[in-house]
């Protein structure tokens, strides 16, 4: 591949990184904390390419690449993420991952998470905190409290669940969190994002049902997919 083509590919790839960084779409793929690194990587890629381009223009010819000009054809593959980002812009992971993942709510005991719940009539909780409390908190702090959860709908074996994915680095390591809905179950299509308000069915999460708690829905509203689709 010619040096000029390599430089254009670098500019495109760096541009793709900057595009998803500034449009906020990066949250579909990676965790929030990566943003500064993504921007830096995009800027450096473009910078390295521009440096080479300007150097070539000044010399009036491409610098002979020290016997490395036979650079492998694999470099072409760098076009794939560019096309994927600019043309397809893959959506955030959804129900497909939940139904194909092990049906276990994968939580860990965390000492500092199990403090007191905030006061108030309706408590918005992350799915991570809700599921962790139902699995680990034996004192029943959630019982008789009205909670609001945000996630997407998914169905399996006739049951309806509200689910959300948690990531620690990128979407490749997404872990599903599920809550089984009972009561006034919304009849919206799968993968529709909802806010559900209601109460946990006390002691409904057990090892037998893979720590999936049941949740009595009192009301539910369809919402748009949040900017940050994953919990971390």
């Amino acid at each position: 591949m010619r040096r000029e083509t390599q430089n254009i590919l670098l500019v495109l790839l760096g541009g793709a990184l900057l595009k998803i960084s500034f449009s906020g779409l990066y949250l579909r793929y990676v965790q929030k904390g990566l943003l500064p690194l993504l921007i830096a990587a995009g800027v450096i890629m473009i910078g390295l390419a521009l440096f080479a381009i300007i150097r070539d223009i000044r010399r009036g010819k491409a610098v002979e690449d020290d016997g490395h000009s036979h650079s492998s054809r694999s470099t072409w593959l760098m076009l794939l993420p560019v096309l994927a980002v600019f043309l397809i812009s893959p959506p955030a992971l959804g129900g497909d991952v939940v139904s194909s993942a092990a049906d276990t709510n994968q939580t860990q005991r965390s000492r500092n998470l199990l403090g007191d719940l905030p006061s108030g009539d309706v408590i918005p909780l992350s799915m991570t905190e809700f599921v962790t409390r139902t699995a680990w908190d034996e004192s029943g702090t959630l019982d008789n409290r009205r909670v609001k959860l945000t996630g997407f709908l998914t169905r399996a074996d006739g049951d309806t669940f509200v689910a959300r994915l948690a990531i620690s680095c990128c979407a490749a390591d997404a872990r599903p969190l599920k809550v089984k809905l009972v009561g006034d179950v919304p009849s919206l299509p799968n993968d529709q994002w909802v806010e559900v308000t209601g109460q946990v069915v006390p002691k409904s999460a057990s090892e037998k049902n893979s720590w999936v708690p049941s949740f009595t829905v009192e009301s539910s509203t369809p919402v748009a997919e949040p900017v940050e689709p994953y919990e971390s």
């Binding site: 083509t5 491409a62 490395h68 593959l77 043309l87 397809i88 893959p90 955030a92 991952v97 390591d173």
Partner: protein, 336 residues
């Protein structure tokens, strides 16, 4: 523009000289076609499995790129500012002694495996013994502080896991280094990997830095994408949940988790969170997952094949796989 470079790289020698198609025209052609058929492409990918695979693919690439960039910057800096003589002075002259030094030096590279491949190759080009550079390559992604802290956070109930991971990974890296001293052959490594960049006399050091970094980035970027493609395909189409149930037996569990570590190609900063989630498994197979993952996975094999050549990667990766399992099991039996 030099014509020789064009012919060599474009492989389209046959056409008459006036109509020469270079990679530049090919690139433009692809871009135009992609734009024309955009909606067709999007429709084609509108199957849940493919959608998931494409998201995971972009996620792996996006996640790894900053670390690859970090790696090529360090590599470029070594090329420009660290003369080979300094490296020779820093390392013990006996290779067998330099191996553990390189392993411990891995602590200083805060990144995942994508960063360490270009750095290791640059070290070789600067005259560091291959065994030493390879030990650094294996140790750096697994024993650096960021990874250890992430492991400690994930396994906050079992702090011994952090110690076991550190020891197991360092042991793997050093054993591989010593094995290379004893059995390794220089001709397995592609010639181009070891070819030193010519120092143009009078070239500005910063120019050397930028050119080396750019060159490494272009070289490794494609292979990173290739690894991402494989990992996304495996992640989407291999029934991970089903494999997890196989892990009930200890021996089978160790093998299954080692295999999963290779095909999932998780970043070493995230794999602990995935390992802790395999809560049905005993600790030992999960330790194997953490030790094998940063040392050998599809993304890394692709990067190594790109940096050092296929005949290297296809010997080194299986050997590392076996050594990593053995080291992890030995460490786990003693420490966990």
């Amino acid at each position: 523009m030099t014509i020789t470079g064009e012919i060599r790289s474009s492989k389209r020698r046959s056409g008459p000289p006036r109509l020469k198609i270079t990679s530049l025209e090919v690139l433009c052609g692809i871009l135009v076609l992609a734009l024309l058929f955009q909606s067709r492409l999007v429709d084609l990918l509108d199957v849940p499995k493919l959608r998931t695979a494409s998201t995971v693919f972009v996620a792996i690439c996006v996640q790894a790129m900053p670390f690859l960039v970090l790696g090529v910057l360090i590599s470029g800096a070594i090329a420009a500012f660290v003369p080979a003589s300094v490296l020779r002075k820093l390392l013990p002259s006996k290779t067998a002694l330099a191996v553990p030094v390189a392993g411990v030096a891995g602590v200083a590279l805060p990144g995942c495996e994508c960063a360490s491949v270009p750095v290791a190759r640059r070290l070789m080009q600067q005259g560091v013994a291959p065994a030493v550079a390879l030990t650094f390559l294996l140790a750096a992604p697994a024993v650096n502080p960021i990874v250890l802290v992430a492991t400690a956070v994930a396994f906050n109930d079992t702090p011994m896991m952090v110690v076991a991971r550190f020891v197991g990974s360092l042991l793997t890296a050093m054993v591989m280094g010593w094995l290379w001293v004893r059995f390794g052959k220089a001709e397995w490594i592609a010639e181009r990997a070891l070819a030193r960049l010519h120092d143009h006399p009078g070239t500005n050091k910063w120019a050397v830095f930028a050119e080396s970094a750019r060159h490494d980035l272009v070289d490794a970027g494609g292979f990173l994408v290739l690894g991402g493609l494989f990992a996304a395909a495996f992640k989407t189409f291999v029934p991970v949940a089903w494999m997890q149930t196989l892990g009930g037996q200890l021996v089978l569990g160790v093998l299954v988790m080692a295999f999963l570590a290779v095909i999932l190609a998780l970043c070493s900063e995230a794999d602990a969170f995935v390992a802790v989630a395999f809560s049905a498994l005993p600790l030992l197979p999960r330790l194997v997952f953490l030790v094998v993952g940063p040392a050998v996975d599809v993304k890394l094999i692709a990067l190594q094949a790109g940096a050092f050549g296929k005949s290297f990667a296809f010997r080194f990766a299986p050997a590392t796989f076996v050594v990593a399992i053995l080291c992890a099991v030995a460490t786990g039996v003693v420490l966990l």
